[in-house]
Subunit: 183 residues, 2 copies
């Protein structure tokens, strides 16, 4: 149920249309959160109903009207309250882990192929994260507002996670190839 708060957060940073929020989730915020535009429009309607956001209709020529949303005082209060609440630990639900167990029981050859594919993918993502981080590091600290700093920390988390994942995949591959666990 955090999509509501994600939207409030981006609106606390600056006013935007639903379309722009969806667009940001596909680009700059893609390693931060993801949601379809349908989901965002639905949630914005619900936030508006509860008085947490308000909007102005900005007519355009040739294009559909824009609804520019802004957070309200009530929305800001709800967000503050939410920040103070204890965060539930994330549930472990990782398809590849299931595939590992299933594959060992029913089809090792396919499992091998799929693990190899994911390993390649994972190393590519790792490269990309490292490149992005170098880009960020090139920027002087003073020019970074809090918003950008938290994006940097999100990126940093992604990098640490992918590093751990890549290491794990290496160990699993070794296990699948040698047929025994190393410890």
């Amino acid at each position: 149920m955090a999509l509501r708060e994600v939207i409030l957060t981006v609106l606390a940073h600056r006013r935007m249309t639903g379309y722009e929020i969806a667009h940001d989730f596909d680009r700059a915020l893609s390693y931060f959160w993801r949601a379809s535009h349908q989901q965002i429009y639905r949630e914005l309607a619900s936030l508006d109903k509860d008085g947490c956001v308000k909007f102005k209709v900005v007519p355009q020529t040739g294009k559909p009207d824009r609804k520019v949303y802004a957070i309200t005082t009530r929305g800001r209060d709800e967000l503050k309250k939410w920040v103070a609440e204890p965060t539930p630990p994330p549930q472990p639900r990782y398809d590849l882990l299931v595939k590992l167990m299933a594959g060992l029981l029913v089809d090792k050859a396919s499992l091998h192929r799929e693990m190899e594919r994911v390993s390649v993918e994972s190393r590519a993502i790792l490269k990309q994260f490292r490149r992005m981080r170098r880009q960020c590091a090139g920027q002087p600290l003073e020019t970074m507002a809090e918003y950008e700093q938290s994006l940097y920390l999100a990126l940093r988390r992604g990098l640490l996670q992918v590093e751990a994942q890549t290491k794990w995949l290496g160990e699993v591959t070794e296990f699948l190839e040698s047929g025994s666990l190393k410890r």
Copy 2:
């Protein structure tokens, strides 16, 4: 949509009742997958409808009848097919990351407290993982079937993830305390 396959996987290992599956998710499989008994009963009904599992009713005295489920050939085929399919990368949706960004914008004091709470929690989980891993490591390799080996690898993944998480929390805490990013 992997709950279906998780259930097929545990049934490929041994026949069980829905109650036992739910119980295992709360214990041995808790760092592997989680689901409520309601969800499991619903999914078992759907799997039965599709001919992927079958069951025998075992009457008991004093207790409700047990429905002992087993995987069918069709179920095994479906599982094989699924193992060979490319696994979609997991979506990044981490509430604490949202809280970090939201907190910087609306309430730094609450954010600080919550981050501290999660750090403590995270270090406790790390300790627990390490203890479990030592327990596993004490066991001779030969006695471990493939099923147990994959559970060990699931545990290993959990450990690596929590290590990365703990490291990240350390960096975030330092950032919150010093007010600037270190790089």
